[in-house]
Structure formats: C-alpha cells, structure tokens
C-alpha cells in the first residue's frame, strides 16, 4: 500500500519509506554518478521512468522472486537516482545504466536485509501466459529458459538479468557490477554458457521422456 508523503518528491511507497533510506548504493551511484550531460530534471526523470520502469521492475522481480520486494527496490532505486541526480556524469555511463546499478545494489541489500530466499512467483505468471493464448511452443521454450535460469547460481543469474533486462553494454555491466570489463565479459560468457547448457539438458530430458 502506498501513501503520499508531504514532500513533493519522494517515491514513497510505504514499504520503502517506512525504513531509513540507506546510502549503501553509494558505490554504484558514484561509479556512474557524474554521469549525465546536464541535470536530470523531473521531466527527464519522468521520461526515464517511462522507458526503464518496467525493465527495472522486471529485473528486480526476476532477481528477488517477490513482487512486494521488487516494488520496494524499484521505488528505492528511483528515489536514490533522483536524490543523486546532480552528480551525473555523461562520460561515465547512461542514466539507464546508473539506474540499474542502483537497483542492483538495492536488490542485493534487500536480499541481505531480509535474509529471504527468492520466491518464484514466475511459475504462476507463466501459467498465466498459457491463458493468454500464446503458442504452446513459446510457452514451453520459456519454461525451459526459466528453469535453466533458476538453476543458475545467483551470481550468474544476476548477470544475465542485468544484461537482458537492463540492456546494458558490457562496459556498463562491468560498472554496475563493480568489476573490470574483461571480468564482466567472462562472467557473462560463463553465465550464458551455463544457461545454454541448462536449456539443452532440459530439452534432452524432455526428449527422452
């Protein structure tokens, strides 16, 4: 449930605002901070929300497996982004990359804070896909991808999610992860290889069955 705060600009979903705003994503903020050409005014911010909001939400819910937590993370990420908008630096990454870096840290903090295993609501959502009348082949393929993705270690899964949901370049991915670009590439390569392996394995098992 959300409430509106007196402050004109605070992304104050109650679940988010009921706890103190941590500056734990300072690293990411600083990594991509000073990142925008000019100021990120409220109008540009609204545009950013329109373009990236659903992706951030998808990333968070895919990582956390919890809708409420994902909404918390999303609101927190946008709030932090807005608060630190004056430190943007265009040379160090796009606003989208910055946003995802903040969201990533917020999501990890959320996991760490709640000490909660990701819950997989995706299964139910996938069932809803069938109801939407999509092709059975698509539904089954996504189920395979979902299982393979869920089988990945969290460290590798987050790389894949950041890459596909965030649509980040390799350099932006590296900056969001706080590692070198070559390391990020290696990690992405390994994660996708393992994802492919998982998909092929699931496919083989299904063929055998």
């Amino acid at each position: 449930m959300a409430t509106i705060c007196d402050e004109p600009w605070t992304l104050n979903v109650v679940r988010v605002m009921s706890r103190p705003v941590s500056s734990s994503d300072e690293h990411a903020q600083r990594a991509i901070a000073q990142a925008w050409p000019d100021a990120l005014d409220a109008e540009a911010f609204e545009t950013l929300f329109r373009e990236c909001g659903s992706d951030v939400h998808a990333y968070a819910i895919s990582l956390l497996g919890d809708r409420a937590a994902a909404e918390d993370v999303m609101a927190l990420a946008f709030e932090r982004l807005y608060r630190s908008r004056a430190r943007l630096d265009h040379r160090r990454g796009s606003p989208r990359a910055w946003l995802f870096a903040i969201a990533r840290n917020a999501a990890l903090d959320e996991l760490r804070r709640r000490r909660r295993q990701p819950r997989h609501e995706l299964e139910d959502e996938l069932a809803a896909d069938r109801d939407r009348g999509e092709a059975l082949e698509d539904v089954e393929r996504r189920a395979t991808v979902r299982d393979a993705l869920a089988a990945l270690p969290l460290r590798e899964r987050e790389v894949v999610l950041l890459k596909f949901h965030g649509q980040l370049s390799n350099s932006e991915l590296a900056r969001a992860l706080g590692i070198s670009e070559s390391n990020a590439g290696t990690r992405l390569h390994r994660a996708l290889a393992r994802l492919r392996e998982g998909c092929l394995q699931a496919e083989r098992q299904e063929e055998i069955a």
Binding site: S24, A58, C199
Partner: protein, 410 residues
C-alpha cells in the same frame, strides 16, 4: 526444438572478446542470421519471464513522478554549481567539523590571547626566578606606610614598646598569606611581584602611562619610578615601576589589562620569612638589651657606672632604631607588591595615519594570522578527514563484501 540453440559453452575461450562483440551486436539489432536471432530470442524469453508491474503501484509511482515534474521544473542542478547545492548529511557533518576546527584554531591562535599570537618577542618578560634576591635590594624604594596585614605590626613597632612590637610582628606572618597573590602559603611571609606588558599605539603611550599611574594611586599604591620615551618614528615605550598593596595585586593587574591589550604578563612570589624573622629577632634583642641597661642604670651607684650605662643606652637606642627600620622595610616588602609595567608603542600597531606601508604591513599580518588559523584548522581537519575517509571506505568495502558474499551464498 523448444529452445533456440544460442551459441556459447565451455570455459572462456580465446575468442571471448569476439563472442561478446557478436552478442553485443546481436542484442543491439546489428547482427543478422540465425545466431543473432537466437540471442534476441533468448533476451525476449528472459524478459518475458518477468511478470508485469502491478498497475496500482505503477500508477502511484507515475503520479508522484508527474507531481514532482510540476513542482521542481526550474531546478537545474549542474555539476559546475554543485557546491551551491544544499549539503547532504555528510556535507553537513563536514561543514560542522570544519567550522569547529576553525573555531578551535581561532581560539588557539587568537592574537588577543596574552603572550601568544604572531607578535614579536617581548622586551620584558621577567621570570619568577629572575626576582631572586629582590627582597634584599629594595633599599632604593621610597618609604611609605605599609598597608595590608603588616600595618598593625609596623605601627605597633613604631609607636609602642619593643615587646608589643615584637608580639604584633610575630602575629603578622600568620595573616600575611591573605595578601599573597600567587601561591601564598600559610604562616609564611611572602613578597609578590608582577610584570605586565601592554601594547599601544605610539601616540597613546604617554596617555596609557598616565592612566597606569592614576590606576596605581587609585589602588592605594604609588609610582616608584617611570620612564617614558616617545619617538616620532619607531617604537615608543614607557616603563613604570609601581608599588601596590599585595592584597590588590590581582585587581590591579586586571585593571591594567583593561587599559590596553596585554602582550605579556607574569607574576612572581618570593618567600622572605627568614629575613622577616631575623629583623624581628634583632629588634627584640635590642629591646631586651635596653630593658637590661635601664635596669642596670637604676641600680648604678657611681658616676662612672651611670655615665657608662648612659652611653650604652644611647648606642642601644640607635640599634633599636636600626632594627625597627629593617623590620619596617621587610614588612613593607611583604605588604606591597612591585608591578613593572611596560607600555610598548609599536609604530605598526596604531590605526592612525594610514599609509601604504602600514596598510601592507597590516594586510600581511592579517594574512599571517589567517594562515596560522588555517594551518591549525588543517591540522585538526586532516586527521579527521582521513579517519572519515577510512571509515567510509571500509564501510563501502564491507557493504560490497556483504553483497558479494550474499551472491555466493545462494
């Protein structure tokens, strides 16, 4: 086939860079062919796995963003003017720390503190040890009625009988410490002295010296000697030697400090109990001798004895007078304190007659003081900043470690 066979597999290959470039191109829509299509398909599948955002949540968030857009439209924070922005929590803390450090530095280095600050060495800073033996070298002082705790002793000595004088004097040391200004000890006879250096403009030296004299008189003291030297160019100076009641020494110094800025101040104390006791004993002995001579005179029977006794009594009278005078001098030393006042009229201290040279000198002095303050502030702030930086770095590293560990744990 349910899964599009996107490429990849095995450990990092030597062609990893090319592989990543191909992936990047495919995801950006630049690549063609089945492989690029498979990458895009995979991305689409992964993105399709995530359930859509809750409509109510999205609506609220969007509404708040739109509300903000209407509230803060003209706000244009730029990095160039970032320092104009309201400070955050860290900035506020840093600002408070900086202000505190500057205040501390100002307090430490403040030029108004006596004897400190960027002021040249003082010509007179008599130390307590330099006053050793002063008690025995006060013969040049003018004789005045002793005041304070020794007055009763002196008066009794001067007027009354020798025994009464000795008795009164013997009581004096017990009350003498009440007059002591610095570190007086019970039952001791102590002599106080002080030295103070005042700063004044050259034109104010004479006036300040006059005010010092008037102050000494108003405090029940007097000016033992003074020397005032006023020069058209260079340093003017006045030296005054005051004698004030010991009981009023502290008050006198405080009053002197209000006449002009104090550059230096010192106080000294010398114990003269032995000198006092010796003088008192000599007087007592002489008085006893007189009593004995008078007694012998009353019993004398011959002219020769009477003449001899008269002569000895006459000599004894002189001895008594001498002993009494010595005791009076010592008492006076204990009941009065010497204050050496130096008024320095530095040519650059004044504000009159503004000249380029004086202005430059003053500006230089202001700069020096400012630099000293900044230096002290930096000395306080630098370790503080290092500590805060180290703490922040450690905290950041700890958070990062926790996140990474959490990733590995799952």
């Amino acid at each position: 086939m349910k899964v599009i066979p996107f490429p990849g597999g095995g450990s990092a290959s030597p062609d990893e860079a090319a592989w990543l470039a191909e992936l990047e191109a495919a995801l950006n829509g630049d690549g063609d062919g089945a492989i690029a299509g498979s990458w895009r398909q995979l991305r689409q599948d992964v993105r399709a796995l995530a359930p859509p955002m809750d409509l109510e949540f999205e609506r609220q968030l969007r509404a708040q963003i739109a509300e903000q857009a209407t509230h803060s439209a003209p706000k244009q924070p730029h990095r160039r003017s970032g320092w104009l922005r309201p400070p955050g929590r860290l900035g506020s803390a840093a600002g408070i720390a900086a202000i505190g450090a500057v205040i501390a530095a100002v307090v430490i280095a403040g030029p108004w503190r006596a004897g400190t600050g960027p002021i040249e060495a003082l010509p007179h800073q008599p130390a307590a040890s330099s006053n050793a033996g002063r008690a025995e070298s006060f013969d040049h002082l003018g004789v005045s009625a002793p005041k304070g705790p020794f007055r009763a002793a002196k008066n009794a000595t001067a007027q009354g009988s020798a025994s009464a004088s000795a008795g009164a004097a013997s009581n004096a040391p017990a009350s003498a410490p009440a007059a002591g200004g610095v570190g007086s000890a019970p039952g001791r006879v102590q002599q106080l002295a002080a030295s103070i250096t005042l700063a004044a403009t050259p034109s104010d030296v004479q006036e300040t010296a006059d005010r010092v004299s008037r102050l000494a008189v108003s405090d029940g003291g007097f000016v033992q000697g003074s020397h005032v030297q006023v020069q058209q160019a260079g340093t003017s100076e006045a030296n005054l030697m005051l004698s004030v009641p010991s009981a009023k020494l502290s008050g006198a110094l405080a009053s002197l400090g209000q006449l002009a800025p104090v550059r230096a101040e010192s106080q000294s104390l010398q114990d003269i109990t032995n000198t006092y006791d010796a003088a008192r004993q000599r007087l007592s002995d002489a008085t006893a001798e007189r009593q004995a001579l008078l007694h012998a005179l009353s019993r004398a029977t011959t002219e020769g004895q009477i003449d001899s006794l008269h002569e000895r009594i006459s000599q004894n009278r002189g001895a008594i007078a001498q002993a009494r005078s010595a005791l009076q001098t010592v008492s006076q030393h204990a009941s009065t304190a010497e204050v050496e006042v130096t008024v320095l009229g530095d040519a650059h201290t004044g504000s009159e007659g503004l000249t380029l040279h004086r202005g430059l000198h003053d500006a230089g002095r202001v700069l020096v003081v400012t630099l000293v303050i900044l230096l002290i502030a930096a000395a306080i702030l630098a370790p503080l900043a290092l500590l805060i930086f180290a703490l922040l770095t450690a905290r950041r590293a700890w958070l990062r470690y926790q996140r990474e560990r959490m990733l590995d744990a799952r």
